[in-house]
């Protein structure tokens, strides 16, 4: 058995399909992105860990049957979305005003103005609809391409692009308005 660090994702997917022991390399590549996505979708570390475990289990079980060329990330995050949606169905949503706002990095606190601006930006993102937040998270937390987001969300790539551009423009407009 040999573990390989990711260099070519498709090669690694195929390697993992041929030998499930190679799954570790795929796991290494995705674990932080999946965890962070789950964390920002749930605002809860324990839930994020639980969901991360469930998602990787599902990926492991589905991997032998993954046959689509390219956009492996889209497939992985479509599983993540399903698991998170299942989770939200089971969990009573936290009202926005009670939700834990995500902590800021210590280094950001050095500069109060930057810190406040980021906090405001996070607040603005929190105030988006769930669908809108999700696309922001897929793009800027999970770092998916538009094609991968489209696959994960089962939407048209152009529609995803337009939706994201609109959202980002809106966020920027609101943020700038606060600082004018």
């Amino acid at each position: 058995m040999q573990m390989t660090q990711i260099t070519d994702e498709l090669t690694l997917v195929r390697a993992a399909q041929a030998d499930v022991q190679a799954f570790g390399a795929l796991y290494d590549h995705y674990v932080q992105r999946i965890y962070r996505f789950c964390y920002y979708r749930t605002n809860n570390k324990a839930d994020a860990e639980d969901l991360t475990a469930q998602i990787f289990l599902a990926v492991l079980e589905g991997l032998p049957h993954y046959r689509q060329e390219g956009h492996f990330a889209g497939w992985v995050f479509s599983i993540a979305r399903n698991k998170i949606n299942d989770h939200h169905r089971r969990v009573v949503p936290i009202p926005l005003d009670e939700a834990d706002l995500l902590p800021l990095n210590a280094d950001l606190e050095i500069n109060a103005e930057i810190s406040q601006r980021k906090e405001r930006l996070l607040n603005l993102i929190q105030m988006l609809t769930d669908d809108e937040r999700e696309i922001i998270h897929l793009r800027y937390v999970a770092e998916l391409t538009f094609a991968e987001i489209a696959q994960a969300m089962k939407k048209n790539e152009d529609a995803v692009k337009k939706m994201l551009y609109r959202l980002v423009a809106r966020l920027k407009e609101k943020l700038e308005a606060d600082y004018e």
Binding site: M1, Q2, M3, T4, Q5, I6, T7, T11, V20, Q21, F23, G24, Y27, D28, V31, Q32, Y35, R36, Y39, Y40, K45, A48, E49, T52, A53, Q54, F56, L57, L60, E61, G62, P64, H65, R67, Q68, E69, S78, N82, D86, R90, L102, P103, L104, N105, L108, K118, L121, L122, I125, I136, Y140, K154, K162, L164, Y165, R166, V168, A169, L171, K172
Partner: protein, 482 residues
């Protein structure tokens, strides 16, 4: 017209999300658990492998997919549909009205059975008249279900079997069990779209119209809930099967291990029995515990032919010391009661140890060192016999292969570089795993490579993630009610 966001503002958004990373301990534990599970999956595959016989050959290739149903409530009512598996009973359970077939170019695609509940949509498919083509152009786009409103339901998993003619696998009947995402409640129509069959681009564009109807009670085999009966023998009880002698015993035991039977269903040609392994030992979570030798015998001591199937439930609560199981007993020509026995369990212990190794200033790929490092961990003598510098798929991927001998035999372990050094833009990450796996063997190798890894100099390796066998006989007796 929407303008592309400025890179500066996108950077600002990204930086607002930079606060959280997964706990390294969690990442390491989950990784080990998943890799352990891959070994168990391999074990399951070999466990249910059926025979290939030439002549009147029935070639049966099983791709076993252990895909436990995720359901939140254990007490939901389940039924069993032969061929389909467990289904959620209730108002929304729908079954395919009748088999549907489509014929093109001498090949017939038949959807023989189908079931849709709130969790998934299952279709049993058969292909007749297809002849295997070795050099056929590959097409690997998955099938999907499309609803009238355009909603697409993706394929989640499938199992495939083939019954060949005399000529072997070239022709015959090809079966598959396809699991798609759940059909929305009250939806009775869907179109199965298959971009190509048998991964062969010469047979493209298949489309099957599916009509479901609400299930009648008589179409479903009832699942009988069993009273809670637990039977436990201490793990030091001598095995009843004298032909398998444990290589050795250890001081480690799994406290309070029991087999709990939960439900049964009587099929025309067999039985389904479900239950769970439970234990009280606080040291071992479900992710680090797995029975590795399970047998079923009848009242005359005859080995019963059975296979593990998808259990109704999965343990979603890590704090519960519980692992669900489900077995299908094939055939009814047995003298009951049955006895279900577990003869060994693999548990992952938390003990770790480190050792140092100096690869020198300029180690070369292929260079091997006879290190003979003894590492006593718990009751185990782990001996690192050799270390070899290896490369991966690219020259920048480097790592080590370790040959390990363990007495008594262990199931697996990991050996990781505690402080990997990288050159250039390399990034860290794990590797490792390996071990005896399904076989009880004393000597095995484990290896890893990392991008831009620097193998030179003194390394500190951590030996961890050790899976050990616990031997004994735990058993429970079961008298089917039907």
């Amino acid at each position: 017209m929407n303008e592309h966001p400025s890179p500066e503002f996108e950077k600002e958004i990204r930086e607002s999300f930079d606060a959280s990373h997964a706990n390294p301990e969690f990442v390491r534990e989950l990784r080990a658990s998943l890799l352990e599970r891959t070994k168990m999956k391999n074990r399951n595959r070999s466990f249910i492998r059926l025979t290939w016989t030439v002549g009147f050959a029935a070639l049966l290739i099983i791709v076993f997919v252990a895909s436990p149903r995720v359901v939140t409530a254990l007490k939901q009512l389940f039924g069993y549909v032969p061929g389909i598996g467990y289904v959620e009973q209730g108002n929304f359970l729908r079954l395919l009205s009748a088999p549907v077939s489509v014929e093109k170019n001498g090949v017939t695609l038949i959807i023989e059975k189908g079931a849709a509940d709130s969790q998934q949509t299952v279709l049993l498919q058969r292909i007749e008249g297809y002849t295997f083509q070795e050099d056929a152009p590959l097409c690997d786009t998955p099938a999907q279900l499309v609803l009238l409103d355009g909603t697409v339901l993706n394929l989640i998993s499938f199992e495939a079997t083939h019954e060949g003619d005399k000529g072997g696998p070239a022709s015959g009947s090809y079966y598959s069990r396809n699991v798609f995402e759940a059909l929305p409640a009250q939806t009775l129509e869907a179109t199965l779209q298959i971009p190509c069959i048998m991964y062969n681009d010469n047979y493209p564009d298949w489309q099957v119209e599916l009509q479901f109807e609400y299930a009648d009670e008589e179409q479903i085999v009832p699942v009988i809930e069993l009273p809670t009966i637990e039977f436990e023998l201490p793990s030091d009880t001598p095995p009843t099967d004298l032909t398998t002698t444990p290589p050795s015993s250890t001081e480690i035991a799994l406290e309070g291990f029991t087999i709990v039977l939960e439900s049964e269903a009587s099929l025309p040609d067999g039985y389904i029995i479900t239950g769970s392994y439970q234990w009280t030992d606080p040291r071992f979570a479900p992710s680090s515990t797995q029975p590795s030798n399970v047998q079923i015998t009848d009242a005359n001591g005859i080995q019963v032919n059975f296979k593990p199937i998808d259990p109704m439930t999965r343990n979603d609560e890590p704090s519960m010391k519980r692992l669900p199981f489900a077995f299908e007993i094939i055939g009814k020509d047995y003298t009951v009661p049955f006895t279900i026995s577990v003869k060994s369990i693999v548990v992952r212990i938390t003990d770790t140890a480190t050792f140092q190794f100096d690869a020198g200033a300029n180690p070369q790929v292929g260079q091997a060192w006879n290190v003979n490092v003894n590492i006593p961990i718990n009751e185990y003598d782990i001996n690192i016999q050799t270390i070899e510098l290896i490369s991966g798929e690219t020259p920048t991927q480097l790592g080590f292969r370790f040959t390990v001998d363990a007495q008594p035999a262990i199931a697996y372990l990991s050996i990781l570089d505690l402080n990997p050094i990288f050159t250039g833009n390399g990034y860290g990450g794990g590797g490792g795993g390996g071990g005896g796996g399904a076989e009880v063997v004393d000597t095995f190798t484990t290896s890893w490579v990392l991008d831009n890894y620097s193998p030179a100099g003194v390394k500190t390796f951590a030996v961890s993630n050790i899976g050990i066998f616990i031997y004994g006989t735990w058993q429970v007796s079961w008298q089917p009610k039907q």
